[in-house]
């Protein structure tokens, strides 16, 4: 799977930050809807750290953190608390970040991914809650700090709730790391915990990678940040493997450091070293009462869990008799899976419906750049279409045109059939009789055999039927063809 080779075993662990789907911030009632907002409008005395203010925990964020933990098979803690992570930076108004440190909300879990050699279990160390920082804006052409005469700070994002999922170092290739993030993102979306958009920053990944020594001991760990897509996670790790192998191969030494991925150059670069080793002086946050979850509350969270991706996959293959590939594609997004299920419930045969959703619906969405949630073709309409094809009332080719029409024009199945001309060009009555006569004439030898009563098994009849259907380019009704054919042959 991986495009890079490494003679030294690769050890990768990931920290994934998910922006939680809450309408308000983690410790104040400000809106979390900061994208595109005028700077410093989603703020209040609390998230600006105005003297005298105190944080108030957002219960929804706690519930979502617990939900993510349950989805990752973690033990949800009855008692968890927050610490302060102290450091000065203009985007951090209190000069400390409130984060779960010693006692996070969920610990010891796992998620199964498709690894290099089949299913692989990646252990999750813990899931914790924390607040996001604001954003610095540098008025330079490239948006970087270097060369800026001044910087502006926007606190709209400050205090937005995040959950951080910290894995064990269980991944052994960039492809596995990418797969792990995909599965985690899928889970977060299934659980409505986060929209998991890497581009907008609602899913952020920090990677830790080391190459093991010949004796099997772990090598020096390097942290990589600033990867903005699944592809860039893979590329950054691949780059780093090559770099580290090259360094080690030429007798060099790996420095423990943080490196930034530059997507346009395709390289990682060492971040400017801080003057001193970072000491965040963690200590307990006393302004917040601890989070106490009773067994009953945890049970209620568990009961309210929606169907998880792997549960849906199992059920789809069991109930609908689909192949693994089909199931994987159909369940990738829970909205697509729900759409497919509705098509089947509306009476479409599961196998053909799977093909249509997976091939044609996704093709249309891909062409139009739309998403399944605002797809113009209702599951009932698609079910009707698939049924007509199944019954050979329409050919697949015509069906695709009809689907396109419905999606583009937003019209009903009937109107689309009408518009497509499939109804008008239908071969029936006199024109069908004319076609059949010509086929019968052109195949005198076969018709002879049938007429003489030698077609005991009906094979020759089927042959003729097929020829007619082929000549009609699928526009004839198979039942009518049988009737007219029998009449024509005088049977």
């Amino acid at each position: 799977m991986s495009s890079v080779e490494s003679e030294r075993p690769i050890v990768i662990g990931l920290e994934v930050h998910l922006q939680l789907n809450t309408s308000t911030k983690l410790f104040c009632p400000c809106s979390t809807d900061y994208i595109g907002r005028t700077p410093n409008t989603n703020i209040c005395p609390i998230c600006l750290a105005v003297p005298g203010t105190l944080p108030i925990i957002n219960d929804r964020a706690v519930a979502l953190g617990a939900r993510m933990g349950i989805g990752l098979h973690c033990a949800i803690q009855n008692y968890s608390n927050f610490h302060r992570k102290n450091y000065f930076y203009p985007d951090l108004p209190k000069a400390y970040q409130i984060t779960q440190y010693e006692l996070p909300i969920a610990v010891r879990g796992y998620i199964d991914i498709e690894g290099e050699g089949g299913l692989k279990r990646i252990r999750v160390h813990h899931v914790h809650l924390e607040e996001d920082a604001g954003k610095l804006v540098h008025p330079t052409t490239d948006g970087r700090l270097t060369g800026a005469a001044y910087s502006l700070v926007d606190y709209n994002r400050g205090g937005v709730p995040l959950s951080e999922v910290v894995s064990e170092p269980d991944m052994s290739s960039p492809a596995e790391a990418k797969e792990y993030v995909s599965r985690l993102r899928q889970l977060a979306r299934y659980l409505d915990v986060s929209d998991g958009e890497m581009e907008s920053g609602s899913l952020r990944v920090d990677a830790n990678i080391s190459l093991s020594n010949a004796d099997g001991s772990l090598g020096t760990r390097v942290e990589i940040k600033n990867m903005n897509s699944l592809k860039s996670i893979e590329r950054a790790l691949e780059y780093e493997i090559v770099r580290q192998n090259k360094t080690l191969g030429s007798g060099g030494r790996i420095v423990q450091e943080t490196r930034l991925w530059d997507d346009s150059e395709g390289v990682t670069r060492s971040m400017r070293n801080k003057e001193t080793a970072s000491d965040y002086r963690y200590y307990p946050e006393m302004d917040l009462a601890p989070i106490v979850l009773t067994d009953e509350e945890i049970e209620r969270f568990e009961k309210n869990m929606p169907e998880l991706p792997w549960e849906k996959r199992d059920r789809f293959s069991r109930e609908f008799g689909l192949s693994k590939d089909e199931v994987t594609i159909l369940t990738e997004q829970k909205e697509l899976a729900a759409y497919y299920e509705s098509v089947v419930n509306a009476g479409a045969p599961s196998g053909r419906a799977a093909n249509w959703v997976r091939m044609e619906v996704l093709r249309v969405l891909n062409e139009t750049g739309g998403s399944i949630t605002d797809f113009g073709v209702s599951p009932a309409a698609l079910a009707g279409l698939v049924r007509k094809i199944e019954n050979k009332e329409l050919s697949s080719t015509v069906g695709k045109d009809i689907l396109d029409l419905m999606a583009r024009e937003g019209c009903s199945l009937e109107d689309a059939i009408e518009c497509s001309g499939a109804a008008a060009s239908r071969l029936t009555g006199d024109s069908l009789r004319a076609l059949i006569s010509s086929v019968v004439e052109a195949n005198a030898d076969v018709t002879g055999i049938i007429k003489s009563g030698q077609d005991k098994k009906g094979g020759k009849m089927k042959f003729l039927h097929g020829l007619v259907m082929k000549e009609s380019r699928g526009q004839a009704d198979p039942k009518e063809v049988s009737e007219v054919l029998s009449k024509e042959l005088g049977l």
């Binding site: 105005v50 003297p51 302060r84 102290n86 000065f88 209190k94 000069a95 963690y282 302004d287 917040l288």
Partner: protein, 499 residues
């Protein structure tokens, strides 16, 4: 009797009965303030106009027949670390010298809603760090019982104001004794409620796990009335307990101490405290006995031995983080520099006073990798042990008596040069704070020289009502403190130490 000598209860009753107007009282208190303020230097901001306007509003409400709050017409002063909307809140620091909050602290809005009239913001040690109200941008506050002496701290301005008759009730914040000790030094009553009793929302934090809004007054009844207004669940402070508070003033119906068991601290070492205060403790114990209580000696070995160290480790660590938000970016002082780090350093070095800088530096060190394990971690453990020691005592006693301060109010400037000595003055107040327990400073009268004597009564956490009841019985025997009128002849002139 002058109007400024009345208690909050007497004022509220008198205003409601239309014996005098709220404006009369407010003007009397403002008059008292302006006649003494040059001597005392107790206030950072005086809100004369808004106080009179509020008093008039109460009077016209009364004329209309509006429902009146329990503190209707009672002027009060709040320590200048309570946020007050539209009124500059300095914390006695250059870094907030020109900062005006956009919101009221919960305690301020509760008091205002109860009909009390905010008339001034009082002096304090910068960011409530100190025990003498000498570390201030406006200079030291003087003790109205003896102008040569400190009023205690850090709520020294509030204590001096109540003692001198500026107002019947004031608000302070007590972190390690910052209300009880100045109440003792100024000869009035002051109560630190249980941690979690009163919302901390809007008081500029020093140490989150210890700070508590605390009233000062010249009577236990006024403390109870203030607490009844202040103590309630507040959704803005999740450390403020949501439980249903009892009616604190009902506890004052207690007639005697029959059936009560009172412990009296006896674990003294020879030079631990001033002899007069030992005498005050003995007479308080005698009062309890005469009121029918069973009185027995107790010791608090862990609290007395480790309290001060544990307290300072906890509080300084918290302070270092709590004060980090003053970075010159969003509010407060800003002094530019060539780099971000220079700007931080310039702003904070020039705008924090020496004691605050000392505490930030010590607190930062205490949380640093390595030191944390040796100091902060153990401090948390000792705190737990100390709580166990208190719990054991409360299985045998309803309350106990101990000194508030080991020393009588000292002369201005005396301990400025020696912070460690000043820290040791907190030996009897900080353990109570660490335990989250309620503590009341009760005045025990004056010495022949006119210096105040007092004792500290401590109860179980959330037993504030019962504690007020016991305090009221002791007060009935010991006598309520009166208003102090400073003797200007006793003013000691010291160069370079004035306002």
């Amino acid at each position: 009797m002058e109007l400024y000598e009345l208690t909050a209860r007497e004022i509220a009753d008198g205003v409601k009965a239309k014996k005098f107007s709220a404006e009369d009282v407010t003007r009397a208190c403002l008059g008292r303030l302006s006649s003494l303020e040059t001597d005392l230097n107790a206030c950072i901001t005086v809100m004369e106009d808004s106080a009179v306007a509020k008093a008039r509003a109460i009077d016209s409400g009364l004329a209309r027949g509006d429902e009146m709050g329990p503190l209707a017409g009672a002027p009060y002063i709040a320590k200048d670390n309570f946020c007050s909307r539209g009124v500059r809140t300095t914390c006695s620091s250059r870094i907030l010298e020109n900062w005006t909050p956009t919101y009221d602290a919960s305690a301020i809005s509760y008091m205002n809603d109860a009909g009390a009239i905010l008339m001034a913001k009082s002096n304090l040690d910068e960011f409530a760090m100190g025990s003498s109200t000498e570390n201030s941008i406006i200079g030291p506050t003087k003790n109205p019982r003896d102008l040569r002496r400190v009023p205690g701290g850090s709520s020294g301005g509030s204590a001096a104001a109540v003692a001198a008759g500026y107002c019947p009730v004031a608000l302070g914040s007590d972190t390690g004794g910052s209300v009880r000790q100045p109440a003792a030094f100024c000869g009035i009553q002051g109560m630190k409620p249980s941690y979690g009793e009163v919302s901390r929302y809007g008081i500029v934090a020093y140490a989150s796990s210890l700070d508590q809004v605390s009233p000062l007054a010249r009577s236990v009844e006024d403390l109870a009335m203030a607490l009844e207004v202040l103590a309630r669940p507040d959704p803005r402070d999740t450390t403020c307990d949501a439980y249903d508070r009892p009616k604190f003033t009902d506890a004052l119906l207690l007639q005697d101490l029959k059936g009560k068991r009172i412990g009296v601290f006896a674990g003294f070492e020879a030079e631990m405290m001033d002899a007069e205060l030992y005498g005050a403790l003995t007479s308080a114990a005698d009062h309890c006995k005469s009121a029918g209580a069973v009185v027995e000696p107790i010791d608090l070995p862990i609290a007395v031995k480790y309290g001060v160290a544990t307290y300072y480790v906890t509080a300084l660590a918290d302070a270092s983080s709590q004060l980090a938000c003053y970075d010159g970016i969003r509010y407060g002082a800003h002094i530019d520099g060539p780099t971000l780090a220079d700007m931080y350093a310039n702003t904070r070095t020039a705008s924090f006073g020496e004691e605050v800088r000392r505490r930030i530096i010590l607190g930062t060190a205490l949380l640093t990798e390595g030191y944390y394990q040796n100091y902060y971690g153990p401090a948390l453990k000792v705190r737990t042990k100390m709580s166990a020691e208190f719990d054991e005592l409360f299985s045998r006693f309803d309350a106990y008596l101990l000194p508030t301060s080991p020393s009588m109010p000292y002369m201005l400037g005396m301990k400025e040069e020696d912070p460690t000595r000043m820290y040791l003055g907190d030996v009897f107040t900080v353990p109570i704070s660490l335990g989250g327990l309620p503590g009341i400073n009760i005045s025990m009268g004056l010495t022949a020289d006119g210096l105040p004597l007092s004792v500290q009564l401590v109860g179980q956490r959330y037993d504030d009502a019962r504690l007020l009841g016991i305090a009221s019985v002791i007060e009935r025997i010991a006598g309520r403190p009166g208003v102090a009128t400073p003797d200007r002849d006793k003013t000691l002139r010291r160069g370079g130490n004035g306002a």
